[in-house]
């Protein structure tokens, strides 16, 4: 995937180590798409191995895949590339199962990958939008903890929203 033939000379590589010991070697420009890593590189300077005890290898790999795509396309940003990015993002979130989506979002949030968090929270929001309360509870495996009558009261106040 990394066909960055033009930027080979000055590219610095970083090692990222996931919670399960899996390591990834990535270009600095890719890893710094993540706010947490960017901060670290800026503050600490020349460290080469960064440990990420809150993310396991599977999801770190996915986050980095997203970063790679977006870092590449940032270097020569024009309208066409923007379109490709959007299309790629759409594909990226299309078939995520709920478990993966959850862990990926947690990882992106932990690593402060703002754009990726935007993408994933929008995906979760799309699973809520226009749904009935019962459907939302089922999707996210949430049990109602209201006292009897409480829920009815909220519904009554804004009955138009439940039509």
């Amino acid at each position: 995937m990394s066909s960055s033939s033009t930027t080979t000379t000055t590219t610095r590589l970083l090692m990222l180590k996931a919670s399960d010991g899996v390591t990834f070697e990535v270009e600095e420009a890719v890893a710094t798409k993540l706010g947490a890593i960017n901060n670290m590189v800026e503050e600490e300077g020349s460290e080469d191995l960064i440990c990420l005890p809150n993310v396991n290898g599977k999801f770190l790999g996915m986050v980095l895949e997203w970063c790679k795509k977006h870092a590449n396309n940032n270097t020569n940003s024009d309208k066409g590339n923007d379109e490709v990015n959007k299309w790629w993002d759409k594909e990226f979130v299309m078939d995520l199962d709920q478990n993966t989506l959850y862990h990926l979002l947690m990882a992106a949030d932990y690593l402060s990958g703002t754009e990726l968090v935007d993408l994933l929270t929008e995906k979760v929001a799309s699973m809520i939008r226009g749904k009935k309360v019962e459907e939302i509870r089922e999707t996210f495996k949430i049990k109602s903890d209201f006292l009897p009558g409480q829920e009815e009261e909220i519904r009554k106040k804004n009955s138009w929203a439940f039509e």
Partner: protein, 358 residues
């Protein structure tokens, strides 16, 4: 050497029912339309308390862009759509459109020229109809009428005198979490509107929170020009736009200057955040004597002005039979017969315009 990323986020409470920490849930819920948010209140207690928190309300409102279609001087529909999200535009044209059930009693079709759109701000759109002012939040289908009419100018008009008429502005004061409606009073004298900027006139400032008007005196804005006349057709449609915490009006006005009558364009600003809590008026900018300029250069001045106002976004001009008002943080459309004043125009608002006009 090794480094470990351990953000403070890892210590957040994970007691949320869905497993997500509450700031992530907040981010998710703030992307929803008002109806979905209302439903989410019923999902569980933690979601309910998150949604009813004032901070969430504010965040959500900021994402809602209200608007109304104004056609033949009545409001046919009010709508609300979600602010376009830059990094993800799978649904860039998401719009929630309501037939505006409560608006019916505001508008009677027989009375043309009476309904004005005052402005849009922070999810709320403001109308005036025969000097009754309404605030409408289309997203939650709420319509509020201001409790009392704006203060009359001094001296009080005699029964036979020219009728009082008002220009309004709408703003949202973030410091006090309050919507403000500002009224400038003037007189209608035949086809001319006069006295709006007469020194000493009462300027009304309504606070939605306290449901009452405060007043301040009109300062001497247009020095040595007691006889400012608002150019009639456009002044009927003066709308306000908020930039950097101040309400701005674009004013087309004329004044007699020896033998000639000069047409000018100016911007009057009202700063909501001054310490007395009432605010202050000032002239933000005005073109001295456009009659000396070609029409094109007036347009150019307006363009550069608007560019200043909206911090670098490009302005445009249009006019049409159907007026569409919609505004976000910096986007505002206001078109009148004489002048067109248009803030940075998002592609999709333009699209709506085209659809309606076509």
């Amino acid at each position: 050497m090794e480094l470990v990323v351990c953000s403070s986020k890892s210590e957040r409470t994970m007691g949320e029912a869905s497993g997500f920490p509450s700031d992530v849930i907040e981010e998710i819920l703030s992307r929803l339309d008002a109806q979905s948010v209302m439903r989410c209140k019923c999902v569980c207690k933690s979601w309910l308390s998150l949604i009813t928190h004032p901070g969430f309300k504010h965040r959500h409102l900021k994402n809602q862009v209200p608007g109304a279609f104004v056609r033949n001087y009545d409001v046919s529909r009010a709508f609300s759509f979600h602010r376009h999200n830059s990094s993800n535009d799978q649904n860039p044209h998401q719009m929630w459109d309501y037939p505006c059930p409560n608006i019916d009693h505001v508008v009677t079709r027989r009375n043309t020229l009476s309904l004005r759109v005052v402005g849009c701000e922070n999810g709320v759109i403001c109308f005036s109809f025969r000097d009754v002012v309404y605030l409408c939040n289309p997203a939650i289908r709420k319509l509020t009428k201001l409790h009392s009419p704006p203060p009359s100018p001094l001296p009080p008009p005699a029964a036979t005198a020219d009728p009082t008429t008002y220009i309004y502005g709408l703003g949202y004061d973030t410091l006090t979490d309050d919507f403000k409606v500002v009224s400038l009073a003037g007189r209608q004298q035949g086809a001319e509107l006069i006295n709006f900027f007469k020194r000493g006139n009462l300027v009304g400032v309504y606070s939605l929170r306290s449901h009452s008007w405060k007043t301040l005196e009109m300062p001497d804005l247009f020095s040595a020009s007691s006889s400012i006349v608002l150019t009639h057709p456009s002044s009927t449609f003066i709308c306000s736009v908020v930039v950097n915490g101040s309400i701005h009006w674009l004013v087309d006005y004329g004044r007699p200057d020896e033998e000639r009558f000069l047409d000018s364009v100016g911007i009057v600003a009202f700063d909501m955040s001054t310490e007395c809590g009432v605010g202050k008026l000032c002239i933000w900018w005005h073109v001295g004597d456009p009659s000396a300029m070609a029409g094109a250069s007036v347009q150019a001045s307006l363009s550069s002005l608007k560019q200043d106002l909206s911090q670098g976004k490009s302005p445009a001009h249009f006019s049409g039979k159907v007026r569409l008002y919609a505004t976000g943080l910096c986007s505002f459309i206001c078109s009148s017969f004489k002048s067109s004043f248009l803030g940075c125009l998002n592609g999709w608002i333009m699209m709506l315009h085209v659809v309606i006009a076509g």
